[in-house]
Symmetry: C2
């Protein structure tokens, strides 16, 4: 051992390499499940300005389930339309079209921009709220050994990573150098992270043994290279500059998303938070082969500025304040696989890179991290069957492919300079955007059948819940809490706390036969029928967090004033000896006068009969896993048995005990 360095050895259940958006989303789950985990990053601070900034509505829905979407909405900038500008008959730029980039009633949220640094702030704050986990910065992973022989033993540590904890003797890679032009205007809750961290005097080496490794280490992923996972695709021959400035311009749509094309090229104008506007600007077409990397040093902010001026002309363009800029060569690449034996996983840019102009990269990456995180954490906890981990690759890898497919259609809109395309620019873009809208906004994720996703036969919809599609999200609606009468979006009610959630869509319990059906269902839930084992007490607990990995949430369709909280059986709102009745578990789909969004149309939007109801299982990551009728309790049990680890028989106590609330 190098005598300059102190070396230590330790064990952890999960090691996450890289603390960008995808790594932090994975870490969120470690915090929520209370799993022993570490997250390291080679940079010495988080991101503060610039970088990714586009948030799709589905991402905000997930943030709502995580408890911090209100912070994003407070700071972010929302866009609901895009404008296409092309040269008009006289050659002067004219607005060819407004294109709406929202769907009415599809989500409470819209396309929003807020820089990656703030998103990291919010996830970090949430992690801290739920755990002691903290990012270890200025830590470089140096070597990875993986013992395949151990891969089938979930309790083993097949992964060995050597890390170097950089000391004062070595200069770390800093986000604050490079292209962060103006960091002087940070929000106060970021100040602590900007301050220099205390580092060891000398660089130290540590060996970490881990059960699982999640590589969220970006386009040049160290993890991926260690595993010799190949990457398919190539650099394109297009070089782009990106610049975040407060513009001085008389272009009328400078605060609206705009695509501006003229003979000099195409730029994308993206208004952002705090008076900033981002410009994506073509700066050069490489003469060299597409696979070569170009020489960055030739590109300067002045050059980008001149390009924007040329393309926006005759409108003026200038700026005094620039907060960040960068330059990149578009690479359309996908890793050939996103896991090694379901012990090591890749997520985010480590799997897919593409043109960063549609607000997709950060969203896809975060949803990768969100998908893999809960599965790994719940497997480590012992509650999830390890084979379910296969669904990470089967669910997310096709989406990475779809992302590249989309990019292959979309990117030419910005690079194709043939004059004849200008006349149809708006309609061409609208066509592509429309085709990929469900995918891009995250309305659909197309998760295929698996142990986690029980599709209807032949993939037709379930007649009793036509718009509750296994493998897709729950369409967000606003519902009313039965106990207090307050309203809330389902995106927040379906809290990402780590549990599977049985949605009891109870229908109209004023109907005596329906009330009887609910009674029968709750006897099953309470373990008083059939096998006598409650599904809530049947599976291993989430240690230290929940006695049961399954939560039950009831949403009925009777008028709010015509039924009472205690009309619902106890198991649907169990009594905790300290916290009392679970008032947050009974909700109502009824219109209320004081909230225009709570209009009593949840059942209709979900395609569920208002009397008969339905039964739905929502996975911890807020995708639908299983749909059935209220009586389909055996099928429900089969579904859960396929995912969760059962207790040994002598562990199964009286079911009542397992309804302890957090």
């Amino acid at each position: 051992m190098d005598k300059e360095h102190k070396s230590t050895q330790s064990e952890t259940d999960v090691l996450i390499v890289g603390a960008g958006p995808s790594g932090l989303m994975a870490a969120y789950w470690m915090a929520r499940y209370g799993v022993k985990a570490r997250i390291i990053d080679k940079r010495d601070t988080k991101v503060f300005v610039g970088h990714a900034d586009g948030l799709r509505a589905r991402t905000l829905e997930l943030f709502d389930s995580m408890g911090f979407q209100h912070r994003v909405l407070h700071e972010g900038s929302i866009s609901t339309e895009a404008n296409i500008w092309v040269p008009g008959p006289q050659g002067k730029l004219i607005r060819q079209a407004h294109i709406d980039i929202y769907k009415v009633d599809e989500s409470p949220f819209y396309n929003t921009r807020l820089n990656q640094g703030r998103i990291e702030r919010f996830i970090l704050d949430s992690i801290r709220e739920h755990s002691d986990l903290d990012v270890e910065r200025s830590v470089v992973a140096e070597s990875l050994e993986y013992d395949e022989k151990l891969s089938n033993d979930p309790d083993s540590y097949p992964i060995t990573v050597k890390i170097r904890v950089l000391g004062e003797d070595i200069e770390a890679e800093s986000e604050a150098t490079d292209n962060e032009v103006n960091c002087g205007n940070l929000l106060s809750d970021d100040w602590a992270d900007l301050a220099q961290r205390e580092k060891p005097q000398k660089t130290q080496v540590e060996t970490i043994k881990a059960k699982y490794l999640i590589g969220c280490d970006g386009a040049h992923s160290w993890t991926r290279k260690q595993l010799n996972i190949s990457v398919e695709g190539s650099n394109t021959d297009h070089i782009w500059g990106v610049i975040d400035v407060i513009p001085l311009s008389d272009f009328p749509d400078i605060r609206r998303v705009s695509v501006v094309t003229n003979a000099a090229g195409t730029i994308l104008v993206i208004p952002r938070e705090r008076e900033l506007v981002r410009f994506y600007v073509p700066v050069q077409t490489c003469e060299v082969g597409a696979s070569d990397r170009f020489d960055r040093s030739t590109i300067t902010p002045e050059l980008i500025w001149a390009r924007v001026q040329a393309i926006l002309s005759p409108f003026t363009f200038d700026f005094k304040e620039c907060s960040w800029w960068t330059v990149y060569q578009v690479g359309q690449r996908i890793a050939s696989q996103s896991t090694k034996d379901n012990r090591i996983f890749l997520a985010g840019d480590a799997v897919h890179t593409h043109s960063p102009k549609m607000g997709l990269g950060m969203n896809m990456s975060m949803q990768d991290g969100f998908n893999v995180g809960w599965k790994v954490a719940l497997a480590v906890a012992g509650t999830l069957k390890p084979e379910v981990l296969e669904t990470y690759a089967s669910e997310r890898h096709p989406l990475a492919e779809m992302l590249l497919e989309f990019d292959r259609h979309w990117a030419p809109m910005f690079t194709d300079r043939k004059p004849e395309v200008v006349g149809t620019k708006a309609s061409d873009m609208a066509l592509i955007a429309g085709k990929f809208e469900d995918f891009a906004d995250g309305w659909k994720v197309f998760y295929p059948p698996s142990s986690l996703v029980q599709k209807a036969e032949d993939n037709v919809e379930f007649a009793f819940a036509r718009h509750m599609i296994p493998g897709e999200r729950v369409l967000p609606v606003k519902i009313r809490n039965h106990a207090d009468g307050g309203t809330a979006w389902t995106t927040g009610v379906l809290e990402s706390d780590g549990r599977f959630r049985i949605l009891v869509l109870a229908g109209d319990i004023r109907n005596p036969m329906q009330k009887q059906r609910i009674e029968t269902l709750t006897q099953f839930l309470a373990g008083q029928s059939g096998s006598g084992i409650s599904p809530l007490g049947r599976y291993l607990e989430i240690p230290g967090r929940f006695k049961s990995p399954i939560d039950v949430l009831t949403i009925h369709a009777s008028p709010w004033k015509e039924v009472e909280f205690f009309d619902f059986p106890e198991i649907l709102h169990p009594l905790d000896p300290v916290k009392g009745w679970a008032y947050d578990k009974i909700w109502c789909d009824d219109a209320c006068m004081f909230d225009r969004y709570c209009d009593g149309t949840a059942y209709e939007k979900w395609g569920v009969d208002r009397v008969l109801g339905a039964l739905v299982v929502v996975r911890p990551d807020q995708y639908i896993g299983w749909v059935g009728e209220l009586g389909d309790v055996e099928e429900l049990t089969r579904y859960l048995d396929g995912i969760l680890v059962k207790k040994s028989t002598d562990e199964v106590g009286p079911s009542r005990e397992y309804h302890i609330r957090k």
Copy 2:
């Protein structure tokens, strides 16, 4: 001088005594105007749990103008109805009525509960965001001298206050003792305030000379006593207990505001944030004279508990967790005056005390502080004519009287135990609540005519802006930003940044005559007509903050897609050499599909013609000061001349310079 104590002397422009809600609201303005101020409090920490918790909608509207209502909504508990329970024919408690306690479309906000400690947190954070001002805790005011001879010289320091900065040698009064039963569950952003502050070794004495003093020091106000200001009214003979618990109860409306009356008495049930419910409970009727204070020590949580059990019976009631409790004797009192020479002011409980059961006390107090704060700060800045300070007493003191009048009607609803009133309980309460609704919710403040409030002749409404009433708030509506198309409530757009705001309700500028009227108006605003002096450049600046104490905000009524940002004259969206055009200054009253609340009805709600528009001045505290037609520029100037200090002639430069944005 006592050799144990170090004594110092210093000067400040404004000294605020008491850092509760009213003191902090006043301090907010010191922070926003950048005024030299200090705020002291005898307690050694802020409040954390319990205390006041009711927020009326108007308070939330003001919070929106201050930038933090989203934090309140995220944490608070909203109620939109109240339930009246009385013994039914069989003697068992029955729900006699639901009473709606909201008005549709009156405000984006509703009755909300969140404890005083969190409100203090948010105001403190806002103060910190805008200044270096911080509360000095464990500081006791000891003596007050006031030199009346100096009262007419605004630059003098007529006030001398000796304070004692408590050191380690003396134990401070702490909020954390007394009745705070459970502080173990604080939100993380309060942790720093709970930590022991560093104190001087020994108690120190300091003499502060101040231009103005604001006494926000509660019902037993030290400031009031120093001034020998008498208090009218008395203690009632009713003793109440208050207890914040997580209830274990089968009372169906435990999470809904409820008034429960039976032979044993009347309790008020108030659901709160974080599973807490507050109970107001009559515990004793004094046999002694009403003016005597009773012996608190005889009241315990157990006694309160037993009373709730008795009144809720036959429903169950118990609890394991109690976060706070207290006991009080209702005092209905009002100070005979709320100012001394308009150099010393009283605000909040120092002026008025009453039964704390309608969520009014904290709201009234904060609005007192909000009213006096901006006036004192702007007078200190030299921008406001000192005589305007008279409006604090003329505006707020009648409201204190109204508050007591309301309380005299309302309090008996909880104390009158005659059996015959039970049958009409619900209708009686609805009648009183309805009569005082506008006052209680803050929809109306009834500010009388003054230099700040220019009423229409004979108090009739202005025909061209029928629902823009001088002395009242701007009815909140959702409008659309012209530049970016995003929507926002006027409560947030009308930011409480310290400036008067001219609302240019521009009407429909597609109409050529209307466009000409706007042109004429903007020539006046730019100082290119008549006197040649722009009203924006006419008055002294707010030093260090704004070149002009007047901001201009345009809300037009043309369809959003049919006019362009640059159709509006430059003075309405001035160019800052760094920040660019003022994109946040042009708004539109047009419906948009993606936001159900942005329905294009602002002009209608304000009673303004969609073509012809109107001109409105909103005061810094978000009340309407003046209303006119677009051509009424001379009247506008007269109004402003009555309030603001003009520059001397040689200071008036070219008006253009004064449109520099923050």
